[in-house]
């Protein structure tokens, strides 16, 4: 069953087409990777799904409901949470308060919001850092805080925008574990943008490849790794071998 349907989405900024006629489905329970060279339109795609941008043409559906004319906060209330490529923690709030602020979307009172937040912080391994002001966190933990905040809204779908960029190998392994746990334990469907080929190939069930705002391929990691146009546009020769 497809949770999100992206149908013929085109997004233009003035004369520049950031996305041209892109369509794909996100199925329940899968991890779908979105890859492509810099400027391919990946983050624009997220902003369209999330409601920051309205598509110039085309539509986005969530469970058969049109969401491409909704505001981000309504989309989030329906159950689509996102993280940002450039981490955007609420700087002068503690880690715990950051998560509480997002937990309030479904919590009835503060005690309930705190309970949800403690669970999420333990889940993402940030529980011991909960009293630190979030601007004092190192990058690896800030990336995890982004995920924790999105989780606290108790979503059905999470859009992860480069949650692995800038992390060291140990942090990457921890992060992979968290992403896998989000699907296996919480049953959340994930759409992920990533440049790290090792990560994307190992965690995705399917991959969609964008280049200059157009979808050039879609398939399992194995198929993508062998696809000649993907190799030409993005992967380079050695990956195709």
């Amino acid at each position: 069953m497809s949770l999100i349907e992206v149908k013929n989405v085109t997004k233009q900024f003035g004369g520049l087409a950031a996305l041209t006629d892109v369509s794909f489905d996100l199925n329940k329970g899968e991890i779908l990777g979105l890859i492509g060279p810099n400027g391919a339109g990946k983050t624009t795609m997220f902003n369209v799904v999330n409601g920051f941008y309205q598509p110039t043409k085309g539509e986005v559906f969530y469970k058969k409901q049109k969401i491409s004319n909704m505001k981000p906060h309504s989309v989030c209330r329906l159950g689509v949470a996102r993280t940002f490529q450039v981490v955007r923690p609420l700087q002068r709030m503690s880690v715990l308060d950051n998560v509480i602020a997002s937990a309030f979307i479904r919590a009835k009172n503060k005690a309930q919001a705190e309970e949800v937040s403690f669970d999420v912080l333990k889940f993402t391994g940030l529980y011991d850092d909960r009293t630190i002001l979030s601007k004092g966190l190192p990058l690896g933990k800030r990336k995890r805080l982004e995920i924790a905040r999105a989780l606290a809204t108790q979503p059905e779908i999470m859009l992860l925008d480069e949650s692995f960029a800038g992390l060291n190998p140990t942090e990457i392994n921890e992060q992979i574990e968290i992403v896998n746990k989000i699907r296996s334990e919480k049953g959340i469907t994930i759409l992920i943008i990533e440049h790290h080929m090792r990560v994307i190939m190992s965690i995705s069930d399917r991959i969609v490849v964008l280049n200059y705002g157009q979808k050039i391929a879609e398939g399992t990691p194995l198929e993508i790794g062998r696809n000649p146009s993907v190799i030409e546009a993005y992967l380079g020769e050695e990956h195709g071998a």
Partner: protein
């Protein structure tokens, strides 16, 4: 002494001390100053909700203050009832005004919002000057028979308003609203994508801020007995002084606007009474503001640790060793 217990009851203790102040036989001048301090603390706390916690810096709070004052004044002048009715009525008037202003201004961000509110205060002043039939223009509105000559009851009324404001703000900020306000201040787009309807919550913040400021304005009408557009809609004496009260005391702190009000009102009185340089009190204010922004960017309450930290720690050591 349990420190957290002291902290919890400190507002109550201060409130009780203030309750007995009128029995201390202070001169009517000092009572006037205290009333002004309390009134400014209400305006400061109101501004703090919008500017300090929600991060929407307004340079137009004179608009809310003046409309509150004129609500009371016009009720007296045209409806011919007591100007005290202005206090409850201005809640309705200011909510409507805040909704209208929010609809126009809150789609702007940062400096553009500040500029729009700056214009707003001036628009209100010019409107009040020119709607002569309604506001009596520059003639102003005067209450011919004052409620009390003595200042005691005025003091109690503004004390109640100030204490009510303090507790209201405290309850709000510790609730879901407070979390949402701060989230919007820190990153509006992130807040929006976390499911916070930023437009709605900014409007709520503006309404609370506007209504509280308006109540202070309605009190001012009753207390001073005379208003005209230049007195209640001034850019410097109200809008900018409000920002200064909060900045000096400490934005986004409970006590900041109160401490700021004490300092600003007393400072203004002291500087004005100095020989020769008294006339330059605005210049001196400016210099003080620059110093505070440079050395105490979080205000006196916000940087309290930095200010007295060394002294306290020395004293604390002596205390525990003895």
């Amino acid at each position: 002494m349990n420190k957290s217990l002291l902290k919890k009851f400190l507002p109550l203790i201060i409130f009780i001390i203030l309750l007995v102040v009128p029995f201390m036989g202070l001169s009517s001048y000092l009572m006037h100053i205290l009333i002004l301090v309390l009134m400014w603390s209400v305006i400061g706390q109101a501004w703090n909700v919008l500017g300090g916690y929600t991060g929407q810096v307004s340079f137009g709070h004179a608009a809310f203050f003046g409309v509150g004052a004129y609500t009371a004044g016009i009720l007296y002048q045209h409806v011919e009832i007591s100007a005290w009715w202005g206090l409850p009525v201005c809640i309705v008037v200011l909510t409507l005004l805040s909704l209208a202003i929010g609809y126009i201004c809150l789609r702007l961000r940062g400096a553009y919002f500040a500029l729009a509110t700056l214009a707003l205060g001036e628009i209100c002043r010019v409107t009040a000057e020119n709607l002569v039939d309604f506001t009596r223009g520059n003639l102003g509105i005067m209450i011919r028979e004052r409620t009390w000559v003595d200042k005691t009851w005025f003091f109690y009324i503004i004390l109640l308003i100030a204490a009510g404001t303090y507790f209201l703000v405290k309850i709000l900020i510790e609730s879901k609203l407070g979390y949402y306000f701060v989230a919007i201040r820190e990153d509006q787009d992130a807040a929006e994508s976390l499911g916070i309807n930023t437009t709605l919550y900014k409007t709520i913040s503006l309404c609370i801020s506007g209504v509280l400021t308006g109540i202070a304005g309605a009190f001012y009408m009753n207390y001073m007995g005379y208003i005209d557009p230049g007195v209640v809609f001034p850019l410097y004496d109200l809008s900018i002084t409000t920002v200064m009260v909060v900045m000096v005391g400490g934005a986004a702190t409970y006590w900041g606007p109160i401490i700021g009000a004490i300092i600003m009102v007393f400072l203004a009185e002291v500087i004005r009474s100095l020989p020769y340089i008294g006339a330059a009190h605005q210049t001196i204010f400016g210099v003080i503001l620059i110093c505070i922004i440079m050395f105490l960017p979080n205000g006196i309450v916000g940087d309290f640790g930095k200010l007295v930290g060394p002294v306290i720690s020395k004293w604390w050591k002596k205390d525990t060793s003895s």
